[in-house]
Amino acid sequence: MSHTGKTTASRPHWTEFFVESLIRVLGFSTIGFVLLIFVFLLREGLPIFFEVAPGNLFGALWYPTFNLYGTLPLILGSALVTVMAIAIALPLGVATAVFVREVAPHWTRELLKPMIEVLAGIPSVVLGFFGMILVAPIVREFLGVPTGLTAFSGALLLAYMALPTIISVAEDALDAVPKSYRDAGLAMGATQWQTIWRIVVPAARSGIVTAVMLGMGRAIGETMAVMMVTGNAGRMPLSLDSLFRPVRTMTATIAAEMGEVARDSTHYHALFGIGVILFILTFLINLAAATSIFKKRRKGGLR
């Protein structure tokens, strides 16, 4: 930075100035775009909070064709699927990261890492189709539920989709734990398992929390696969067996209905209202992920 300052002072390096401001503008524009999107969402979505009585808006019936805009089943549906997906993906993801980083020999590691990246590249519609044709019948037959298009099937697919994110971020976190920690553990007579479980994983904890948060952000926003396997029934997921019954998520609702609505109708505003709720939820999750990194850094700990 100081170097740039000097050259600008001695000789007007216009190319450098140009590139520097270009990068700056691009950097700031990202923030600008997010803000603009949020403003747009609010502009299109806020009217719903005035057009529809709160009792209706947070009621249990989502029949937009008949002016029933109860978003509660959709919010709970998204929450159920996402939480379940993370419950499945967290142990698998962390275990995989530990294996890849701590246990696997070098060549296995070099083979596994790109393959995990490939996992992230599978289009969600392909996974959704796979879920509809293969996962749903298996879920129905093994669990003896009326239909295989359930919250659980959706959670399975979402867990699979969140896995690459969780594995790579958790692996980076483990990577950042200094070798001296492991050496110290082993020197104290701990086994490799004890070193991993009692020293390395706790030291990388905040990074793992970030990984989970990012995975969750990915899961809650996922649309296509969820729409294809969760059955999209707008029922309240409150009973104990809800996990094994169909649910309707916020994203699937927006995707399925946005193509049809007349602009500026109540239904249109309601879909954007759901968008606002989704945006705020995702934002909060990402914020939580960011603060967990930040807090640890301030304490002078490891990422």
């Binding site: 129905r140 059955g231 049809e260």
Partner: protein
């Protein structure tokens, strides 16, 4: 949406540069080297690029190549029930009239009608008639929609092939889909829970089924689909689940029923006979759940669109039967 608008913008460009449209971009560039200057080259490349993005069919372009001055285009969007039939019509018509290009897209009746109201489409396909709100929205845009009945469709009630239930009255179907009847035993089947399958609410079939079956045609009725109804994003989704799941019941256009599901015979009420949907029973009015299929244009159509619709209403009716729909009489 992007693709649709892009394609629209592309069409005039193609029609003014008919001889320049290549089979492949590479051949085209080769032609251009001997031809006009760089501006045209850029314009042409843009067309070629847009063309490849759009997956233009070289076959059709080849037909136009050098033979015809202007290409007439018809944009046709709407009902997923109608999309296969509309495609078959479009293909047959383009064979007869190579100067006309018809692009057919699905998306649902509401989508097609909305596009027609916004003036982005020439013909909207719909499996229901236009709602009063839609007509007033069109009027507000200065558009008077014109309706054409182009074929008829029957809605088939489908269940898993092993389901012993083979006859239902309209009232029983209504009770099943509102959640009043929840077990197959209650309609004479095995002891199994009933899983309800429906199209999404943007489907014309959904609205038709709700008004004419669930509400039994009573406009004062406030009955709704049970909240437990699974809303499937496509006809294919319903078919897949019904084929796999012995608990399932779904409804779909007769044109979309394959041989692998079991079609249930339906009676208007217990005093009338149970009838299976077929071309004959829809035409003689004995099958209770059937409906007309529509095409809408923005105002009285003229020129090539009028000619196409005339063909659809007469010679085109031959293809209707082949696709499992019911031709006009």
């Amino acid at each position: 949406m992007n693709q649709k608008t892009l394609r629209r913008r592309l069409q005039p460009a193609v029609s003014t540069l008919p001889r320049m449209v290549p089979r492949h971009g590479s051949i085209y560039v080769h032609q251009m080297r001997v031809g006009p200057g760089p501006i045209l080259l850029i314009a042409g490349l843009a067309v070629a690029l847009a063309c490849s993005l759009m997956a233009c069919e070289p076959r059709q372009l080849g037909v136009q190549h050098g033979s015809i001055g202007a290409v007439q285009t018809i944009q046709n969007i709407g009902s997923d029930t109608l999309v296969n039939l509309a495609l078959a019509w479009a293909e047959a018509y383009m064979q007869l009239h190579p100067e006309v290009r018809i692009s057919v897209t699905g998306g649902g009746s509401g989508t097609g009608i909305a596009a027609m109201i916004n003036g982005t489409v020439d013909i909207a396909n719909a499996s229901r008639d236009m709602k009063p709100e839609e007509i007033s929205a069109a009027r507000a845009n200065g558009i008077t929609p014109v309706e054409f009945v182009v074929a008829r469709d029957a809605i088939a009630i489908i269940v898993h092939s092993t389901n012993p239930v083979s006859e239902l009255t309209v009232r029983q179907i209504s009770d099943i889909f509102t959640g009043k009847i929840t077990n197959w035993r209650q309609v004479g089947g095995e002891i199994r829970p009933i899983v309800l399958l429906s199209r999404e609410s943007n489907s014309g079939t959904y609205v038709y089924f709700l008004e004419n079956v669930i509400r039994l045609g009573d406009s004062k009725s406030r009955l709704l689909f049970s909240p437990d109804t699974l809303l499937m994003p496509s006809s294919e989704g319903i078919g897949t689940e019904v084929r796999q799941n012995p608990n399932a019941i779904g409804y779909d256009g007769l044109g979309y029923v394959s041989g692998e599901e079991k079609v249930v015979a339906v009676a208007q009420d217990t005093n009338r006979p149970y009838v299976l949907p077929s071309v004959a029973t829809v035409n003689d009015g004995s099958y209770p759940i059937s409906r007309p299929l529509y095409m809408y244009t923005a105002g009285e159509p003229g020129g090539h669109i009028r000619a196409y619709l005339n063909w659809v209403l007469h010679d085109g009716q031959a293809s209707v039967l082949l696709l499992g729909f019911v031709p006009l009489q």
